[in-house]
């Protein structure tokens, strides 16, 4: 019988180890199912809204698409669909997709008042968080690692077998035991993910990235847990020490760091931009029309000479008010985005010290579900909205009729292509931290083989 086979039998005959591995496999499979369900729901929502959108637009076209139809009505009532389909790996790491909209219907009015509507709709969803594979891998898998390694050395000492084991001439006992445990944890965690990656036809390189980052992250926890387990004399002390490290690294320090970053880099809410923009638009009703048009024409000189109209109201005045409203908060919008990115960059720096933060960041980047992805979607909405305005302005400022046929000329939203990538620096730093901790634990383990009389 091979040594590995007996070692495997020893592990699997331990109730704690077998239960921990089975639980990890189950949680991993459940999280994959949960992630796939969430992604399916978003896809279904996009499909449903797309169908509704077509019906809604047809109704608007029927109502306002007349030979002498007013473009203002068409622009005001035509909501056009934008959507952000989940990436191929989103089911593994949902990231911000639970609180950020997957669909947004926009019209040619102010962009800023439409972009952040989800902040009032989805806030509650942020409270419980998401149960996805990234959560299981980053937060729960280390506990299984601890369960399997905390008594690696102390268990033998407490069981009275350590001196007998160490008296054997063979080498590589600890390496083999740690390696086997690592393999079992990695298989329990990654098998459901690998099956799902193959079944969903995810891009191989990105899928490989997920496997690599999880493998390195697990290696970090094995190194840390073995380091602690080989420095103390009692299993209970080793377990307490490792769980203490888990609490500090995954809960305490990230929370404190998050609070510090939030304090150092204040970010206003997106909804504040909506309110600011609406204030300016509403103020437009109370000021002379030339004041609004002057500001509008400063950025759209091509419509100079077409701004005047008879009567109290014209659609071009309303849309100019909205355009001016967006432009008035442009600096605030830029500052808002800059502060979001600033926070993100601090979080990446935090990952230099905290492997769990680094691994989570890498997973979300690979899955294209992080802040970068969110802003990319907003950018694509912004580009589409600009196109929409450019489409309607000739009708509005040249008083061209908007017929039913013109509805067929409305621009269509082209979904963003995705920004998933391998973040090299966080990955490299994760590798370095893991390498250091593994080296330290290897030195410690070698010391045990030398002298068990401590």
């Amino acid at each position: 019988m091979s040594l590995a086979r007996v070692e495997l039998r020893l592990i699997l005959r331990s109730r704690l180890a077998a239960a921990a591995l089975a639980l990890l496999f189950l949680l991993s499979a459940l999280s994959i199912w949960s992630g796939l369900s969430a992604v399916d729901r978003q896809d279904a929502t996009i499909a449903r809204v797309t169908a509704e959108q077509a019906r809604d637009l047809a109704a608007v076209a029927k109502e306002y698409g007349k030979p002498d139809g007013e473009a203002g009505y068409a622009a005001y009532y035509s909501f056009l669909l934008t959507h952000d389909r989940p990436s191929a790996l989103a089911f593994l790491a949902l990231g911000q997709r639970d609180v950020q909209p997957a669909v947004l219907r926009v019209r040619a009015l102010s962009l800023q008042q439409q972009l952040y509507e989800s902040e009032t709709l989805n806030a509650e969803q942020a409270l419980p968080g998401v149960f996805d594979f990234a959560f299981v891998a980053i937060y729960l898998a280390p506990l299984v690692v601890i369960a399997l390694t905390h008594d690696l050395v102390t268990g033998e000492r407490e069981g009275g077998r350590l001196r007998l084991l160490l008296s054997m001439p063979g080498t590589g006992l600890w390496r083999r035991r740690i390696g086997l445990r690592y393999l079992l944890v990695a298989l329990s965690l990654l098998t459901p993910a690998a099956v799902a990656l193959v079944a969903t036809g995810a891009p191989a390189m990105l899928g490989l990235g997920i496997v690599v980052v999880i493998s390195v992250y697990l290696a970090f926890w094995f190194g840390l847990s073995v380091l602690i387990a080989s420095r103390v004399r009692a299993s209970a002390t080793a377990a307490a020490g490792s769980v203490g490290c888990w609490i500090v690294l995954t809960l305490l320090l990230p929370t404190l760091a998050n609070a510090a970053i939030a304090r150092a880099v204040p970010v206003s809410k997106g909804i504040d931009l909506t309110l600011a923009q609406r204030e300016i638009v509403h103020h437009g009703w109370d000021i002379p029309k030339p004041a609004t048009f002057d500001r509008f024409l400063a950025t759209h000189p091509e419509w100079r000479g077409h701004e005047s109209f008879k009567g109290r109201f014209h659609w071009k005045w309303l849309f100019a008010m909205h355009q001016v409203g967006d432009e008035a908060v442009a600096a605030q919008v830029a500052a808002y985005r800059a502060s979001l990115l600033d926070r993100e960059s601090w979080t990446v720096r935090l990952g230099w010290l905290l492997p769990n933060v680094a691994a989570q960041g890498v997973l979300h980047r690979l899955a294209d579900t992080d802040l970068v992805a969110q802003l990319d979607y907003q950018d694509s909405i912004g580009a589409f909205h600009k196109e929409l305005r450019s489409f309607f302005y000739p009708y509005l400022f040249l008083d061209r009729p908007f017929t039913r046929a013109d509805f067929g000329l409305l621009p269509s939203y082209h979904a963003r292509s995705g920004t998933a990538s391998w973040p090299a620096i966080p990955m490299l730093l994760l590798l370095i931290v893991t390498g250091l901790i593994l080296a330290a634990s290897a030195v410690q383990i070698r010391g045990i083989s030398r002298d068990d009389s401590r």
Binding site: M1, L10, R161, S167, M168, P169, G170
Partner: protein, 249 residues
């Protein structure tokens, strides 16, 4: 390094060894040697340095000075090679309770890289130590200390090594089991194994040892060889010597 008449190194050869734990010197110039086919009983009180002597032979500690050799190999310099020469039976034989006697043997033999043909090694070894055949495939969790001891000795026999280190081997055994154990190690002696037995058990030492050494203050204070007649050792004198109630000669 001491050699025997054939010029080969002694299985166990300890010369002028000193070792300290912090300020406390535990071995203070220990000299000890065991020849092939010899049973050496090392007696001594608590803290006399018995376990440290075994640790030095196992390569667990590096002595401050002096020389330790197992079959001519320095365990501190090349522990794996030295350990390949010896089998060690700890005081409290703890095996893997989840595995059967056969599986335990199989596993430890594999660890010792002595695993050539398990069926031809394990069964004869278990048979030789007298472990009932029905117990071979039972998990050792339910074994008595004597049965565990037998598995450990079977392991030592199965490895066919020239040196056997026994740490308090009869501690906790009943008289019958002790007697059985003594017969077992005599079997090993017959195979020309050099046996160092660290023990508190004077009766057992008298029963099987070829030499008895009294360890005190980190050195052999007195060494006695077994007589050739029917009385191997003077038990009363040994007892008095051991308990510190030396009687006048």
């Amino acid at each position: 390094m001491m050699t025997n008449d054939a010029g080969t190194p002694l299985p166990i050869d300890v010369r002028e060894v000193r070792h300290s734990y912090g300020e406390r010197e535990v071995l203070c110039g220990l000299d000890l040697s065991v020849a092939p086919g010899e049973i050496y009983a090392l007696l001594g009180g608590n803290g006399a340095g018995k376990s440290t002597t075994l640790s030095a032979l196992l390569g667990f500690i590096v002595p401050s000075s002096g020389s330790v050799r197992v079959g001519g190999i320095d365990p501190a310099a090349d522990p794996a090679k030295a350990r390949a020469q010896l089998a060690y039976v700890p005081e409290s034989v703890a095996l893997y309770d989840q595995l059967s006697a056969r599986e335990n043997l199989d596993y430890f033999l594999a660890l010792a890289r002595a695993h050539r043909s398990p069926d031809t090694i394990i069964a004869p070894a278990l048979e030789a130590v007298g472990l009932p055949q029905h117990a071979w495939n039972q998990r050792v969790g339910g074994f008595s200390k004597g049965m565990r001891q037998k598995v450990a000795i079977a392991l030592a026999l199965a490895r066919h090594v020239p040196v056997l280190l026994l740490d308090e081997p009869t501690s906790g055994l009943d008289p019958r089991a002790t007697l059985e154990f003594n017969r077992l190690i005599e079997t090993a002696r017959d195979r020309q194994v050099a046996i160092l037995m660290v023990t508190h058990d004077l009766l057992s030492a008298v029963d099987v040892a070829d030499r008895i050494g009294f360890l005190a203050d980190g050195r052999i204070e007195e060494e006695l060889a077994a007589g050739t007649g029917s009385v191997r050792f003077d038990l009363n004198a040994l007892h008095a010597r051991y308990t510190g109630t030396r009687v006048a000669a």
